[in-house]
Symmetry: D2
Subunit: 277 residues, 4 copies
């Protein structure tokens, strides 16, 4: 996309100031108590779909943008438990284990906060990119969304609509694709919905049980959505089981609950979103 | 508590084998599609209470059991964005930030998996503690619960029932306390509920805005609940706003959605539980 | 010290350009093959003094400037070794352990690189502070010194000269103190020497075996030495045993070998300097 | 190698008890004040060869045994420096940067402590492998060697002796190779020497500037040397420049100073050894 074309789109979609000059959550403002209460009524069967992928050394990161897969180790384990009768007696039989992790906050299923992408030196709502320093994001950090991300989820299974296992890498999804998918699925996308777009891309890696070469270069959509529209963006959602269920019962709307970890001044957060039907 | 008394209680509450010899999730088996669907009907007002405390350097950990507060830093920040006209042009105006974290998995609001506590060398369901090695938990790890932790939440506000801002440290809550609280609140605790007990302990630290000396020694309840009952245990929940709301509207039951991060072989997980009313 | 007075001193000591516009190691240029060969001749007894303090959870860091003590844990330990006869046979008896660490690069005995301190937005030799970004130091990084830090070490034991166990915190050491100490010790400080100044400050913490409240605010000396003089600065050296030995044999000069870890784009490095006599 | 053959060799080389039942440093006991003082006399030209490879994200680790390359980031950088006149005035012009690292202790040029390898459940000197738990090594840890690793270094350039750029991967160096190399180099290996063996293996990766596929499976030599002989073992030494220099001047002996970081209960340590001629 040319710089000119990109800028034209930027101007079209930019929402700066829409929720006041101090806003830090953008389109999450569209979720209201009413839309949430309505979404909860979609939970009739009591089924849970967990959309988070495992936090694992063999994950999708291969070093792009310095990201790596989670490194998980132990402080204490079974080898440290009381072993001799004297130790067991002293501890009254008690023992325990503890663990810790090192991870990029965007290494698995994730929310990108509105501090994640800049355009021409600006973040969402016009804040200066210099407000994100080595001590984190002074504006638009992920903890500002801590109680905001539950609402009506809608899955648009574009891959299924197009009749393919997965869209080609680099395929640009059109408005017609989205509207066609919604129509075919008999679902209406409404203000305040959390929209899940299924490309099938992840199935390539799940099929061969190998994530290598998964992570991709950023694309123009990031630039439009995050700093300009103010759209809190999710990535690497595991949608296969949910998609199969939606195809089976014809219901593509559900309650989506995807709490961010409230990382102070954080740019992203790992999540395990629940789709509840 | 004497070793003898502890063992007597252990025998009373032990659930090993109740869900078969291969079970790794214990009492979470009580949550069923029916209990979940019923819980969702409690969401009528569309209000969200986020029960997770911030992930922050000034958190509740002071070094006990080697735990420390989350350490959060940046890979990329605003200082790395394109600055010169040439850089801006080359990147089409695009820039971004990325962050990462080092943290104990039980440093903030958390689930303890059934691999966290041992009794006499055994974990939940009788698995050997040696199955938790420096590479993590081969049984009872937190990722086994990845799609299990949504259901009816019930808050028992014991501190309020006893008429105090916070129970004294070390006060042992009795069955009579719990039953009295439930009766006073006009709420019935049912099989499959996720029970939140409010002691008010956290308010001491929130009042003075200083978490020092918060973390506590383990207690007999851990030994009874985790390896013997098979109870997935939560800790350090922020209940103040939820408790105030429940006191105001008299409704102490709600939909609780608290997805664990699916850490492969993990012992614990940070969480941000949502209580939805 | 007033800003005015500081600036006057800055102008006096500033060495920018002295070793050319591209220099990144400052006064380490004074160490030459000749001074090093001469220093080696001081090693006659074959005694080694290790000046590095332990890398340990109970170290001198208490959170100032976000620094923390080293966090050391295991990937593999004795609990993971082959245990059954079958495992032992398969591995031919072999087993092993592996560990890892998380640490600030200036948490223990350390070198500060010339990228560590800025003055009026500039580093050593006039480089812009903006060259230190979240991806590290593009100029003056510690790896530039990787083969430079071996030479004649001279200990000036100012505490001993002043007849105290330790100088008072905040005491400003004068030129007369240094010259008096050297004269009393019958040692001459020469160009190319690595100068160790003993204040006795550390003994306060070693005596009570508790490092709490050790770390200190930065002082004007940092600003003069690092960005202006171009002095690679060491801190938290353990000098007690070396000082006792020097007092005993009257020899305050030795071979000092203190290799930095060549951290690419690093600002500091932990070290374990050897004084060889 | 068959298990039988390995065990025969183990019995031949085992040094357990040689330095008493409480020894934790093995063959480092051979270094004495006399051998060190003699080694220092080899420093006549004042040349330094730094044998440590960079600590860098593009290093030799590719995940074997869970090891990864160092991850280096910043707490503070130039983007955080005072920028406005008011900030500059308040800080008196002062600013600074700080960094930290996450790394396996054996990810770069390194010492393996005597706690690193087990044979039949035992470490060096017969200590039980169970003494290495998730809290580190209770015996044979690397900090026990903190002031021990300086002495006469001897380079045996086997690759050069055999007339090849690098020995074939898997080639087993024989005693005849070592003796032949020493004879050709006119150097005698003596008790207390720190022996550097050059295979040329690293040149393969340096030539193509790509470390991928560098890390190798452990080999029988580890089992013989570490737990049985009590040999503190170094790996991934950068020997190319030193070897060229030795070939040029015909002097293959030098002072080697390779201080370990004194990691409490540590199994390994990154190092930057200096060969001084």
């Amino acid at each position: 996309m040319s710089e000119e074309a990109l800028r034209t789109l930027v101007v079209q979609v930019r929402n700066w100031g829409k929720w006041g000059p101090d806003d830090e959550i953008g389109t999450l403002n569209y979720i209201t108590p009413d839309t949430l209460a309505e979404a909860a009524r979609l939970v009739t069967a009591g089924r849970v779909f967990a959309l988070g992928i495992p936090l694992d050394r063999n994950g999708p990161q291969s070093g792009t943008r310095q990201r790596f897969n989670p490194i998980h180790t132990m402080f204490r384990d079974g080898g440290d438990r009381p072993r001799t009768p004297a130790q067991v007696a002293e501890m009254q039989g008690y023992g325990g284990s503890d663990d810790w992790i090192v991870m990029p906050l965007q290494c698995v299923t994730q929310w990108d906060s509105l501090a994640h992408i800049f355009y021409e030196g600006r973040m969402w709502n016009g804040y200066d990119a210099d407000l994100v320093t080595s001590s984190g994001a002074a504006k638009n950090s992920i903890d500002k969304t801590k109680d905001k991300i539950a609402g009506r989820g809608v899955l648009l299974d574009v891959a299924r609509f197009k009749g393919v296992r997965a869209l080609e890498p680099g395929y640009a999804i059109t408005v017609a694709d989205l509207e066609g998918t919604a129509a075919a699925q008999k679902v209406e996308v409404k203000r305040g919905d959390l929209l899940l777009i299924r490309t099938g891309h992840m199935s390539r890696y799940l099929d061969r049980n190998d994530w290598r070469h998964f992570d991709l270069d950023p694309n123009p959509f990031h630039v439009l959505a995050i700093p300009n529209m103010g759209l809190t963006l999710g990535e690497i959602f595991f949608l296969e089981e949910l998609a199969a269920d939606c195809a089976a019962d014809g219901r593509y709307a559900f309650l989506l609950v995807a709490p961010p970890l409230p990382v102070a001044r954080g740019v992203g957060t790992p999540i395990n979103p629940y789709a509840l039907k």
